[in-house]
């Protein structure tokens, strides 16, 4: 059962060493740190990191990001050792880095989810994660559309505005049905790489549930929608369940 969940984005620039001398987006970094701090504040038997990867698979719990893939000289300067093992997928690795920075020491499970996975399989992976134990903390790493503005990596797509608004509302309201209902094709076209991970979150908390949510950061400073949120299913008894059926 998921006792707390945090949602953070996964731009490589969150890896401090990759941005050079300047700290880029300190407010985003701060929001991520606060979110992870609140995630870990609630006792948990295991912390699960979920983020997009080339395929759906569980990585070894001591895995790390290999920064040399993004900054060859940065990787060779050091950073967290990958000990010759292949580096984690970006989103999973950044989540691990946030846990490391927060000083998390207990058991970890690192779950990559195929970024093209169907809604049903994302929900199923989420349900499986929720069953890992009575107290599971979930760190969901993924991004919104990379087509928010003409300066975006994927240029501008006018559909991004409504999509972003929908995701923001879903996270702010803890509306799992809305997350589960996101259209995978549209998300892919909008370069929203977090879609699959968010639907794992919906599956883990329960695709019909509405839980208390708190948005800590919602902006697109480089034309990519970054969202930082906290969800608190342990307090869900205070909130009415969403009456609709889960999407099929």
């Amino acid at each position: 059962m998921i006792t707390s969940a945090a949602v953070v984005p996964s731009p490589p620039l969150l890896a401090r060493d990759l941005t050079g001398r300047e700290v880029v987006l300190p407010e985003l970094r701060q929001a991520c740190a606060v979110a992870v701090g609140r995630l870990l504040a609630r006792p948990a038997d295991i912390v699960v990191v979920v983020g997009a990867g080339p395929q759906t698979t569980v990585w070894e719990p001591d895995g790390r990001l290999d920064l040399s893939a993004w900054g060859p000289t940065v990787g060779s300067r050091g950073g967290p050792a990958t000990a010759g093992k292949p580096g984690l997928p970006l989103a999973v690795g950044l989540g691990v880095a946030l846990l490391d920075e927060a000083g998390q020491v207990g058991p970890r499970l690192l779950q990559a989810i195929d970024g093209t996975a169907t809604v049903a399989s994302c929900l199923a992976v989420g349900a499986e994660l929720a069953s890992l134990g009575p107290r599971v903390a979930l760190l969901v790493v993924g991004d919104g559309s990379a087509r928010c503005t003409p300066a975006s990596p994927g240029y501008f797509d006018e559909r991004a505005e409504a999509f972003t608004a929908d995701v923001e509302a879903a996270l702010r309201d803890g509306d799992m049905a809305a997350l589960a209902g996101l259209d995978a094709t549209l998300a892919a076209e909008l370069m929203a790489t977090g879609r699959a991970a968010w639907q794992v979150l919906a599956g883990a908390i329960g695709p019909q549930r509405r839980v208390p949510g708190d948005m800590l950061y919602a902006d697109a400073p480089f034309g990519v929608s970054y969202l930082v949120a906290i969800l608190d299913p342990a307090l869900a008894h205070c909130c009415p369940a969403v009456p609709e059926e889960a999407p099929t």
């Binding site: 490589p12 620039l13 300047e22 900054g71 990596p153």
Partner: protein, 298 residues
């Protein structure tokens, strides 16, 4: 190599005044000439007020040291030691008063000028004319100053190369500068304060200057810190067919090529641009963190 020459060494810190610079540092040596007739922009710092203002400017632009000269390299009206001292020494004293920690180099071949410059606060003697005055190393040793050991092809000060030729110009440069470095060591100059300089254009035609640039690694491989003095010089102009005001790109290209090969001190008129070129090379080499990287990382 003869036994009188300085042996190759492990690269180590370069000490100038109270400062210490690591082998990965690339220093900009800003030129401030106290002459009315130097080859590039003659007379711009002839006036003492203008010269002091120029110091403020180059320090703000990131200069690591100054090079103050009172005699142009080219032939011309005689400048006596007394006149050279009059031009340079009170100015060095004024700069020293304004900037207690700034490294100051005196560009002179004369030991009596060097002595007066060190007494006024100079930390380095830039002996561009290749050890013409054998007493100069004694002055450097006496004051704990540094010494630039240069190759001028054996020419007397303020003379131009005339049909000069070398079997191998780089070998000749190495023989000369290591010989001068050996002489400096025997005089008691601190080995951490000795710099070698192939001295582009001095006793060389422009082919020779291109050759020493292309093969600069043979100098840097000695482990002694290498000075590049190429700013706006004739070899750049002749190579590019560029007039005196059109040599900036060629100067910066030479700077980058020398920096890539490990030169550590860069004598420059254009301080900010030289700093930027050197920082770019340093970042490419992985010696300097870039300022701000976000492209493709968002």
């Amino acid at each position: 190599m003869t036994s009188d020459q300085a042996a190759p060494r492990e690269p180590g810190p370069l000490r100038l005044g109270d400062r210490s610079f690591g082998p990965g540092d690339r220093l900009v040596m800003a030129i401030v000439n106290r002459t009315p007739d130097s080859f590039y922009r003659p007379g711009i710092t002839w006036d003492e007020g203008a010269a002091l203002a120029r110091v403020d400017e180059v320090v703000a632009e990131g200069a690591d040291l100054l090079d103050v000269g009172g005699v142009p390299a080219k032939p011309g009206q005689e400048v006596t030691a007394q006149e050279e001292i009059r031009r340079v020494v009170p100015f060095i004293a004024a700069v020293r008063a304004a900037y207690p920690d700034l490294v100051i180099s005196a560009d002179t071949w004369r030991h009596d000028v060097g002595r007066a410059a060190c007494q006024a606060g100079a930390n380095l003697l830039n002996d561009t004319w290749g050890g013409w005055d054998p007493k100069l190393p004694d002055v450097a040793a006496e004051f704990g100053a540094g010494l630039v050991c240069s190759h001028a092809g054996g020419l007397p000060p303020r003379t131009r190369p005339f049909r000069v030729w070398y079997d191998d110009v780089v070998a000749d440069v190495l023989d000369t500068v290591l010989g001068l470095a050996g002489r400096a060591l025997r005089a008691g100059v601190d080995p951490a304060r000795i710099i070698i300089d192939p001295a582009h254009d001095f006793g060389k035609n422009s082919w020779h200057s291109l050759e020493i640039t292309r093969r600069l690694t043979e100098l840097t491989a000695t482990g002694w810190p290498v000075l590049l003095s190429a700013s706006h010089k004739d070899f750049v102009g002749e190579t590019l067919g560029a007039g005196i005001e059109e040599r900036l790109a060629g100067t910066l290209a030479t700077t980058a090529v020398a920096a890539w090969q490990g030169a550590r001190v860069f004598r420059a008129h254009d301080v900010a641009l030289t700093r930027q070129a050197l920082d770019m090379v340093a970042a490419i080499r992985g010696d300097l963190l870039p300022v701000r990287m976000v492209r493709g990382l968002t």
